[in-house]
Symmetry: C2
Subunit: 353 residues, 2 copies
Amino acid sequence: MQFISKKARAVTPYTAGEQPRGAQFIKLNTNENPYPPSPRVKAVLDAFDPAGLRRYPDPASGRLRAAIAQAEGVSPDCVFCGNGSDEVLALCFPAFFGADEPACFPAVTYTFYDVFAHLFDVPFARVPMREEFYLDLDRLADTPCKGYLIANPNAPTGVGIGREEMAAFLARVPEKLVILDEAYMDFFGQSCAPLIKTCRNLLVVKTFSKSYALAGIRCGYALGDPALIDALTRAKDCFNSYPVDALCEAVCAAAVLDRDYYAGTLARVREERERLRGELLALGFTVPESAANFLFAGRFKADGGTLYRYLKEHGILVRFWDKPFLRDFVRITVGTREENDALLAALRALAAG
Amino acid sequence: MQFISKKARAVTPYTAGEQPRGAQFIKLNTNENPYPPSPRVKAVLDAFDPAGLRRYPDPASGRLRAAIAQAEGVSPDCVFCGNGSDEVLALCFPAFFGADEPACFPAVTYTFYDVFAHLFDVPFARVPMREEFYLDLDRLADTPCKGYLIANPNAPTGVGIGREEMAAFLARVPEKLVILDEAYMDFFGQSCAPLIKTCRNLLVVKTFSKSYALAGIRCGYALGDPALIDALTRAKDCFNSYPVDALCEAVCAAAVLDRDYYAGTLARVREERERLRGELLALGFTVPESAANFLFAGRFKADGGTLYRYLKEHGILVRFWDKPFLRDFVRITVGTREENDALLAALRALAAG
């Protein structure tokens, strides 16, 4: 159609995991939390006066940034909030990169990064993995670029890099910006957020979608030097002045401070992750050790696509990418004990068949 | 700072109206609705189960698009939803324009358009007004471009163009895309939304922020040919797959169908608008006839900046731009009768002083 831009015709958009409506699936495909969010969320909704919605939300998300700052032990001017960490990551491109300011990221990582780069016309280098599953930090450090996007724990492998190793990497590239996408970090406990006070080249991006069980509310944030936060704010104010709505701000400000509740659900997810991985290994799967709330599992009787379709026929959704390397695996979100048992039963039937 | 992109350093972000927290102002500066949203919003919040928030929202916003389609009398595949109409308008740039696909808009209009254009590196032409307050549709039609952004009613003048006149313009430029920003259209009642079935070059953008009194929830939408909606969806899926959160979807789906409630609040706003304009004219202001929920008023005793500061000292916020032509005026949101009376009392004191 003549009205569509050349760019919109040429780009390959990001494909999110299936979100079936109505159908009854055991949904282990989009790394959602198997447990509900903090009970404080219900209290916020009950107390919320809808009359206030006639007003625009605070464009600076002041209340939410104060709560995040308190939870993270940083100053509110080190916090930026957006409509999901995807939006925060997207805004990083115009804020920090450009046509002659290239980005760099690992060859196997969150597949949205190269989509963002294409949207904002940012060139990028992809650095191959070390021994399939592991980031090659040496080679990353040696690659010419303006800065990096590194998911830690990585997606979809689940492999995590400890804080000390990442601190050493940050020190090796002081003249380059390092954006750490810590969407799954709460399942690992090695966040580099405490390093933002000393590393001016560090931006840490987090989300309420995974550990906080609030994927439905759309909120993510970045932590970094106030100059980095200011650049993100400028990018936001060129795109959408009020991306975080008033209900979202109230809900997330309450949730982020409920440390005790989430400590419990995090522990349960980690425990199930280890149990599930052990069972998958025992069945004969290849499964790298995971620091996230999912497992990257494959090389078992069939390719990933066959596994994906088999499980879907058995009412279980997992995530599959028909791409080199990835197509040998599926990504399985850690569910409740019952959901994981159902998955294992289906896989045992496949093994026995 | 070395990490900031050249673009982020060079752009001038959009400046939203003040959103003071805590201070007690009569707030007539951001065109918010003086009346609360539909009572159905409270019912939605009360019934909402927060456990569902652990799941991502529907990336296609299916339930909300179905409700909007019903309210607008179109098919759901003619509806696109975003995180405020600002996001919808921003996504129009990569979807429909490009480096050699220029945009065109009136010289006096919503000041976010040129910010979007700079963010996405889209060149644009600005067409001067006809007799200060009026769009020059002839000159717009004759300007070479890929397409137009036209706010109707226009901002910040409030001047509206009737459906028949706009239909004639659409027919004059069948090979160019016409994006009509109808943020304030419900206060005028001349929407071109019914024309999308016959005009493939028309995209109508609307918002829940003004007539629906839901600025705090962040939702806007576009109506147009499915091919246009598909291009917007592709642009969205390069930026943020899930921009409309689950609570927002539920709230707006309920509100958009409460026609009776909003007919009442719209009538009250229009009635107050006419009363307030009459009083301002009587005081000696220049005020073009408004089709929106605000008045563009000035050339009275002092420049707009002086008026803005005087009113702020008297506890009343209005909107002021220190730019050629605009600086002779302020934009005054139509408030409740009591708020408008307070404004008029302050202005009468100024007139008498």
